[in-house]
Symmetry: C2
Subunit: 210 residues, 2 copies
């Protein structure tokens, strides 16, 4: 166990790994589980050791706008940011591939920041990369039209799962882009005509999407 954590988080010092083992709780969650809801109080910092999580921003009308993916070796930036104050979560986290996560009590955050250089660097890097990712999301919705956003969405999905098949219904995609199912169907059809994808039921094969 100790060994595997070290492999997933190669930059952590061995002392830090030991401390995590000591203070953290490893928990498993099945696909579909909502790990965190908007407005809930955050009690733990979450390190992902296995599986996949999607982070959404929820609209008042029930929209679920996809922000980004969390994968093994990563951590939830939101759960780190809301440290001492035990702030409310601004996002919703959903398991999309059975996960194992290491739950770390929030009070450890501050302590380790001072005691473990590799933790400090990990936290800063997490902030930085998530901030950049959110800025890229802003780019997409501010500057691009739906067809470009859809292409970007598919590319991101295939990057995240490491495969070229997207096993989602048009409705699910529409929800995560905050548009309607019909729009997604139409745009996908156009992409198929351009030879970018092949459409099957509940599956989209990416062809030339680099």
């Amino acid at each position: 166990m100790q060994n595997s954590l070290q492999i997933i988080f190669p930059n952590f010092s061995s002392e830090l790994i030991a401390t995590i083992e000591e203070n953290g709780t490893l928990q498993n969650f099945e696909t579909g589980t909502i790990l965190m809801r908007t407005g809930q109080y955050i009690k733990n910092t979450v390190l992902i050791t296995k599986g996949k999580i999607k982070i959404y921003r929820e609209g008042e009308d029930g929209g679920e706008f996809l922000m980004y993916y969390l994968q093994p070796g990563q951590a939830c930036a939101i759960s780190m940011i809301c440290t001492a104050k035990s702030e409310k979560s601004q996002i919703m986290a959903k398991v999309v591939e059975d996960v194992s996560v290491m739950m770390i009590p929030l009070q450890m955050m501050d302590k380790w920041m001072m005691e473990h250089r590799s933790w400090y660097e990990f936290v800063i890097e997490t902030y930085r990369s998530r901030f950049e990712e959110v800025l890229e999301v802003v780019d997409n919705i501010a500057f691009r039209s739906m067809d470009e956003r859809l292409e970007f969405y598919l590319k991101r999905h295939s990057d995240a799962c490491g495969c070229s098949e997207v096993n989602l219904s048009h409705q699910e995609i529409a929800t995560e882009l905050n548009t309607s199912r019909e729009v997604v169907s139409r745009l996908l059809k156009k992409m198929e005509q351009r030879g970018l994808v092949k459409l099957n039921r509940n599956q989209i094969e990416l062809l030339n999407v680099k």
Copy 2:
């Protein structure tokens, strides 16, 4: 001088203030100055002591999408995040009201994080509040239509300047919302008919905008 820094950053310890005085450089910039461009390397962490700065995300086509304001007592989160690695800036910063800023060499960041509790807390709080602000921006463009976004824009402007007059042309507003001048004119006219604003040349008076 030492005194005024302490007033603007009330949570900083007196030792930290002294260290800042010692290592930082106070600089002044006039309205209109571009403090930082997308793609430039960041060499300093910036603390604002006077004036106002707007942070933009630049589109490939030359769009300037407004993200948020920076005011006295605040710091540029981006310039903090891109610490050790001296990363490229992902944003553009423009002075909109003559500013004084304290430039702090990036290498101080890490050092002070360990040595000054009040610096550490300030940095974490800066990350947190900016992250939240950007999430709110995502909300706006993902879930809201242009008329709502325009209202939000005007409200934010009046909050930032503490007055109820917006001294901007329709074109400037359109640029910052990444839409066209005509659309802004139309929507403003509708708002005027609803009694929300009064339109003058180069000025919009907010009436009932709470």
